[in-house]
Amino acid sequence: MTMSIRATPFHARAADANRGNLWAQRGRFTLASEYAGVAQEAAAARFAVAMADISWRWRVRLEGARLRELTQRLFTKDPNALEPGQALKALWLADQGGVRGAGVVARLARQSFELTAACEDAAWIGAAASLFAVTLTDRTEEEGGLALIGPYAEKLVATLGLDATLAPLAFRAVSWKGLDVTLTRFGEHGGYEIWCKPDDAPLVWDRVAAAGEPFALQPAGLDAMDLLDLEAGVPRPGRDYDGATAPDAAEPLAGALRLASLIDGDHPFNGAVQAHAHLPRRKLTGLLIDSDTPAPFAPVFLAGKAVGRTLSSRYSPFLRRAIALVQLDEAHAAPGTALSLTLPSSRGALPKQAAARVTDLPFIPPPASIPA
Amino acid sequence: MSETRYDAIVIGAGVGGLAAAALLAKAGRHTLLVERQPALFGTLAPATLSALDPRLAKMLKLAKHGFGYAARDLPLAAPNLLLSRDRHATARSLASLMPTDAAAYTVWRREMLSLAKALRPAWWDGKAVAEVSLKPAQRVLLDRLTVSSAIAHLCARFESDALRAALAFAAAECGAVPSEPGSALALLWSAAQEANGAQGAVSLPKGGVLALLRALSDAAQAAGAEVRTATPVARLLTSGGAVTGVELAAGESIETPLVFCALGRRHTLATLLPPAELGLGTARTLARPVEEIGNAVLVFALSAAPNLPAPPDARFLIAERPEIYESAFAEARAGRNAREPVLELVREEPTRLVVRVWPVAPSYARSDLVRTVTLMIERHASGFANLVVSADLLEPETTAPVPLERLLASAQSRIETPLRGLYMVGADAEPANALSGRAARLAVALSQKARPR
């Protein structure tokens, strides 16, 4: 197997900004993992505005005769009530009820939806689509995307000359000083996304970078974005759960990922029965670890008994400690519950126990947006 | 034909070097003393002595070699201030200055002398200060002195600036910077000294400090030490971490297992040893520049006795406020002449005034210095400038200010070197810069312990 760099449309600009030359793979692409340090980039997303390349997100267009039936069957919320220009967040589940993926379903036109997701699931969704004579068009490489996150995102978008009056989960195609772009508000952390043609990407980056200077704009890499996800309590397929890589799983249930709100009980989507079945209840919540060392995917104990396990874990510079998403038996998931876990050891040292405390998600609420 | 093998070689003919040579020769070692200068001692030296190891004086029978005191226990005078052994005179002087200080001074002096006495075994026999057992109150005082600057300490105890400045001089005199933390301990060291039988006293030898050098030299040569002047040393010869000899600048090599060096420790280790002999890390440390300062001695020959406002036998100090020390040392460190240095004036003879000037940077301006000093004295003794017949300047030897470690460390750590057979006996082998000869006595004893005959 060979490793090769798969550039996003913004790669040239990102390479200039990525002075530490730290890269990571995400989806099909090679992206900067950090530009100026995770803490600084995450701080920009809370104090000012951060700019992240999100071209790696998987985007597919669904079009065809029985589109309505497919989308109702596939997604945990029915997107057919949407007007063009609107979107919703939904899951798709395995037959046994396990979450395969989560994404934003946007209605482009009466007969056209586009799914934007953090994890590819082309084989599964493609097979489903073919049953309903729906075609699946991969558009991932047709556009580059820049996310603008932070309290000054709205002001920045207005300063760019784009109309910032856009509701969350809405989008709009606009002509912007000679470029055709789409402005969306699909992100988990508030903010805006600008999608453009690959050839226009460097120009878009430059425009944003120049206009962002007064707002202390900071490019943010994958590590900082992962930290923001974690602090916001957002689990991601591929990172926090298997999703599409487990063919027909009963786990994880949406509730165990704190995604139950994305399930609409009234319509019969794939896996609905099982998702509602009475299974041992686990809950996704936050864990504050009394240490600087993160403990991902570690069992957590209450009085010596395992009561759950952590998912992603990172050091949070804001909380000045390691934090983790944790799936706990519901009985032990009350905020304040004192638990313990074993920290991973390094360089041959003995593993250490650390105390931890359950807390509500999100760990840190997002900052209020400063209106334009 | 000079010999090429000795039991011991001493480098440098200061108090430390001469004392070491005399003690070694007396102990029966075949000893050579080498001195860079063409003559054994110049014509200029400080006038007073505040620290001569009494045991050394006894061992070498210096009195038999013509050493004696002209005046003992000199009072310290400053404008409007007289500190002398006569308690009543001191109290009267202080009372007119600042009544509360008279009582405070008595208490302070008693505390300092008592603690100094307790610490004398450490400083005299080479133990580390921390190993001395003390009463709890003494320990508290010592703890405080080790972290305080002399000036802060004195400011906390006394109210009069003149008294603070006068007492701070003791710290400056032994090479500490009185405004720096730890220099308060130097006050204690000064109080521990014994000159002429009195603790903490300053005396005037007959013939000045030169007479001491002569007596030591007589003692050394009488005991059989060989002396070569105008003989600079190029480097030390070593093998396997031990000294094996000395190479002279003239090219000649002399074998010896023991070298006593009266030069500065840094200078010795950095320049007289083969490169990196002590390790690359040590070499790097030694190569770092150090701010060196020192004091200069100016000898004024006068046409008549000067009109100083002090008893004729007193040391007269010109340092009116304690802040003077800080600014003067800062200027010296910056390589400039201090606008207002600290002066100690001693009348060696009625018309011969020996002035020590603190502090002086290595790159000081000579002519300015003489002028500044003359004008400063003129302010206190009107007509002084007109009395000056000549002013001779003893080139200052500058050293790094005495760090606290030296005052606290054991003698062994100051005298011994990483190189076997090499012992330091110069001024910086003493706890503080002083002409006591004690380092030489301890070094010879250490060498005899390491290599009994």
Partner: protein
Amino acid sequence: MTDRYDAAIIGAGADGLTAAALLARAGQRVVVLERRAEPGGRLVTREFHPGFRAAPFADALPPVPDDLFRRLDLARHGAWRAPAADAVALWPDRFAVVPRRFEAEAEARRAAALAHAALPEPPAPPRWNILAKPAADIWPADDWTRASLADLAEADAPLLLDAPALDPFAPGTALRLLSKPEDGPWRGGLGGLGAALLAAAREAGAQIACNREVGDIRSENGRVTALATAEGGDIAARAVLSTLDLKRTFLSLFPWSALPSATVKQIGAFRMQGSTARLLCALSVRPRSPLLAALPRGAVHVMPDARALVDAHAAWRAGIISEKLPLTLRFPSRVDPGLAPTGGAVMTVSIGAVPHTLFDGVWTNEKRNLLTARALDAIEQVFPGIGATIVGLELLTPPDIEQQLGATAGDLDGGEIAPDQMFAFRPGLSRKSPRTPVQGLYLAGPSSAAGPLGTCAAGAIAADALLADLRGGTLP
């Protein structure tokens, strides 16, 4: 105010609010009395020119210890911190990024020192002799305490400091590094941290009373009984926690006869001397340096030079406004754009070696203008054209800082940082620091042992001691 409080706290700054939060959370009845209209002490961000906000006294303080930060749940209360950025030394023709090689070491030492400051009882005097003990025995018994900055860092140590008044060649100056590395910048400036602490204290149930100046600490038989406020009326309390500095606490809040005379004398000899002035500048555009690609996020030391520091220090000692001033610039709006209007920028200047008392009298307008002009001239050399973009200025001289912050002589460090003034050598503390010779009086604030080492730390240490005594029954 009816009956007695368990604890009355003087000053609603970092230490006062921390102590209030911890004590109230432990179920004690707590009141905090603040002289000014706003709580926060130096943790305030205020508008100094319309649309421009800055923390007037400092931009960065020593870190809030991590465990304390977690214990107070400050992130939840909105205290968000960006990482400290590299400092830059800037000359008209060159620049250098200040090496951070001491930071890890300083961090470890600071933590060790804090652990010491928190000791319920300092070690017996022989063990507490921090300089005479062999290295590695107890902190900080090694060369750090007596090293000079120049020793420690060879050439660049002076660059590590914000505009100090010190001779970097003098032994003991390395102790300054203990209040490094700095914490923040905080969202909303230091006021962001202050607001979070206030929220934590209020949530815990502490009562915060502003515009209440304490006039006297009343004591009977060597035991604290109440606080007398300047407005009249006593506030009875079982214990008093003062976050004022030593001199204010003991010399202005007590009749001297109420204290042991040795204590009064020692506190009188404690050296406190302000040396920092602050210049807050509102800029209409973001400044540019021809040398730097972007405006630095961290401190910018303007033409730092060890020799100039020595001269400035000498001038400071003599009460003169130095020709060359140590200047450290910061651009808080570079990290938090909310501190300036869009397009503008906030620049704060810490001017070092500024005397509290001038040799020839008080700070007149001419003197203030001279200081401002000298500082701006130097800044103009590294940021050409910046002078023309200044739309608002506020100068705080050491007397202003004294008046506004209540810091004796405008000393922001709570006393000269020197080995004989640190740790157990701080006067006014009993052997069981942070307790004092007056029963029921606890000292937090800048002059306490932990004061210069960490933000909020002294407050937590005093609160813990007070709580132990309340529970242990040593306080009636």
